[in-house]
Every structure is written in structure tokens, then in C-alpha cells.
């Protein structure tokens, strides 16, 4: 068996790894490195998006703690990553005056003074879902008429999925 016949000298093209291989690489990164890697090139960005959508449980990406106090300068929230001990300052100007209601999969549900619900991802600052969240908030107010709302339980609850506006 004589190795080294072919292959090893072909220069590798890491941009064209199959997407699920890239996803396994990304799943080995901590949150900050993950976000940076997602910006390396278009195929990596697409793998990054796929990975986020898959919500794979990864020992490298345990839940992080997001906290906020009036003392934090420049309207920043702090993100604490327990596995690395790293602290990040996340700009979060919207958070002032909002009450956190709950969180899941990196999303934060917050309520404003009149009880409108807002869905936001503090890491990606995804305000893209803002309209939908407002919509839900109004709907909720109409049904619930309460200034402070509670996150509905997963099933049933004050506004079951069937009653969602537009359905």
C-alpha cells in the first residue's frame, strides 16, 4: 500500500465545503467566533444561517446570561458566557423602559409600558420581527386588556395560535 499518490496536494477549497460539514464546524465555535465565522464569505454565511435555524444543541454554545441594569453605560446589556467566562457588551438601546417577559432560543420577549409585546434578538439586533410582534401585542391587548402581560404557556393560554390575527 503506497500512499501519497494523489489528493493531498490538491489545494483545499474551504469555501465550498458541503453545507452540513460547515455546520459541524460552526457548531464547535463559541458565540463570538460563530458570529465572526458567519461573515467570512457567502457560503459560510449561508451555513451560519442554516445552523441558527437548526438550533442544534451544542456543548460549545450553552445558554448565555443577558443582563441589564441602569448602571450599564451607553444603553448596553451585558452578555455573560458561562463556558468561557467572557463578558460582552451588547448595544441594546430599546431595552430601557421595557419589561422582559421571557426568552427562548436567543429571542427575548419584552413588554412596553402599555403592554405591547416585542420580540427581539439582542445578539443579531433583529428588529425585523418588530412589526409582527407589535401586531401580536395589539391583538393581545384587545383580548386581554391588561397593562402587563404574561408569556402564554406553550399550549392553550390567553391567545391560542388559532386566534392569531390573519388566520
Amino acid at each position: 500500500m503506497a500512499p501519497a499518490v494523489a489528493g493531498a496536494d490538491i489545494s483545499p477549497d474551504w469555501t465550498h465545503l458541503p453545507k452540513d460539514v460547515l455546520v459541524t464546524v460552526l457548531s464547535e465555535l463559541h458565540i463570538r467566533d460563530l458570529i465572526r465565522a458567519g461573515a467570512a464569505c457567502a457560503p459560510w454565511r449561508s451555513a451560519y444561517t442554516a445552523f441558527r435555524l437548526l438550533r442544534l444543541p451544542s456543548p460549545r454554545q450553552p445558554p448565555c446570561l443577558l443582563y441589564y441594569s441602569g448602571d450599564t453605560p451607553n444603553c448596553a446589556a451585558a452578555l455573560y458566557c458561562p463556558s468561557t467566562g467572557a463578558n460582552f457588551r451588547i448595544p441594546f438601546p430599546q431595552l430601557g423602559g421595557l419589561s422582559p417577559i421571557g426568552s427562548a432560543h436567543g429571542w427575548l420577549v419584552v413588554a412596553d409600558e402599555v403592554g405591547n409585546l416585542h420580540l427581539t434578538n439582542p445578539l443579531t439586533s433583529a428588529a425585523a420581527h418588530h412589526n409582527a410582534a407589535r401586531h401580536r401585542g395589539r391583538h393581545h391587548l384587545r383580548r386581554g386588556r391588561q397593562p402587563r402581560v404574561q408569556l402564554p404557556p406553550k399550549t392553550g393560554g390567553p391567545h391560542p395560535a388559532g386566534a392569531h390575527p390573519g388566520e
Binding site: P18, L29, D33, R36, R89
Partner: protein
């Protein structure tokens, strides 16, 4: 070599299979080792790869295949124990030492390995190499990642996108 279940009562003789690389090199390995590949496992269960036949692997060259088999042979006993729940700490430490050494190799070989692990569906090997690649890009900016892994120079659009990303995710670049 020994035909499967040839029944000569020799417990020591493990069933062997032959794998043929893209450049026509024949590798004879224990079926248990080759079966770490989900792809090969089915063929082997069907009785393939024994005798003079051999299983052709048109996507894997001999240099890569010999490396892949080195991994499989080392990991086969633990895999046979169902992930080795009762492996001793010494065994586990030894495997870990082997793994660390194993991926301490050239980037082009890593690339061939992860592609082969993907094609042959060898989960452990794929995640081992993925871990190594992740280690290589840890703490680096997108541009440094590109340089480390030898991406082509960014186009002006790509450069603009990286700059925009850095502004948007400033906290991840501090």
C-alpha cells in the same frame, strides 16, 4: 482472507473486507473498523467487500483512505462497546491523545479527511476534524479566517460586507 462466518471455530479471526481507493490501491481491514462508516456498514452487512471483490471508493484517494482507516482501526474497539461506556479512563485518555496527534496535520490533509468522513459518513472523524478547524479559526476576524484557510482575496463587495458586519456586530469584534 478469512471468509465471513467460515466456521472454522477460530474466534480470533475477524472478518476482513477490502476497500479500493480512487487510485486503485487495495486496503484490507477488519469489517468492524470499516463499519465505522455508515455508508460502508450497509454494504458490509450485505456481505460485500469480502473475498476478491473489494468495495470501490471513487471519491477517496489512497493517501486519504490510509489516514481514514488509521482512525477507524483505532476507534473500532471503543465503537464496538457502544461508545465505550465502560472504557477505563486510561483507554479514553489514550484515544484522546491519539485524536489530538491525528489531526495535527497539514490543512490540505484535514480538508481531504473531512470530505472523506462526510462521504463515508464517519461521524466521529467528521466532528474531530470539525473541532480542529474550529480551533484554527477561533479568535480570528472574518478576514483572518479567510487568510488562515486560504480563501481567495475578497472582492470589493465581500470587503464591504465584512466591514458592515463589523459595524453591526461591533461587540463580537472587541
Amino acid at each position: 482472507m478469512a471468509a465471513p462466518e467460515s466456521g472454522d471455530g477460530n474466534n480470533g479471526a475477524a472478518r476482513m473486507v477490502t476497500l479500493i481507493s480512487s487510485d486503485n490501491t487495495r486496503f484490507e481491514v477488519e469489517a468492524a473498523a470499516a463499519s465505522l462508516s455508515q455508508t460502508l456498514q450497509l454494504t458490509i452487512l450485505d456481505g460485500g467487500g469480502g473475498g476478491g471483490d473489494g468495495i470501490p471508493l471513487p471519491n477517496v484517494d489512497s493517501a486519504t483512505l490510509s489516514k481514514v482507516l488509521e482512525y477507524c482501526i483505532k476507534h473500532a474497539p471503543a465503537a464496538a462497546n457502544g461508545g465505550a461506556p465502560n472504557a477505563t479512563a486510561v483507554d479514553r485518555a489514550e484515544l484522546e491523545r491519539f485524536d489530538n496527534e491525528f489531526v495535527n496535520i497539514d490543512q490540505s490533509v484535514l480538508y481531504s479527511l473531512i470530505m472523506a468522513a462526510h462521504n463515508l459518513e464517519i461521524e466521529g472523524l467528521q466532528s474531530l476534524v470539525a473541532k480542529k478547524v474550529a480551533d484554527m479559526i477561533k479568535g480570528k476576524s472574518p478576514m483572518e479566517i479567510r487568510r488562515t484557510l486560504g480563501f481567495p482575496d475578497p472582492t470589493p463587495e465581500e470587503q464591504a460586507e465584512m466591514n458592515a458586519h463589523m459595524l453591526e456586530y461591533g461587540w463580537a469584534y472587541e
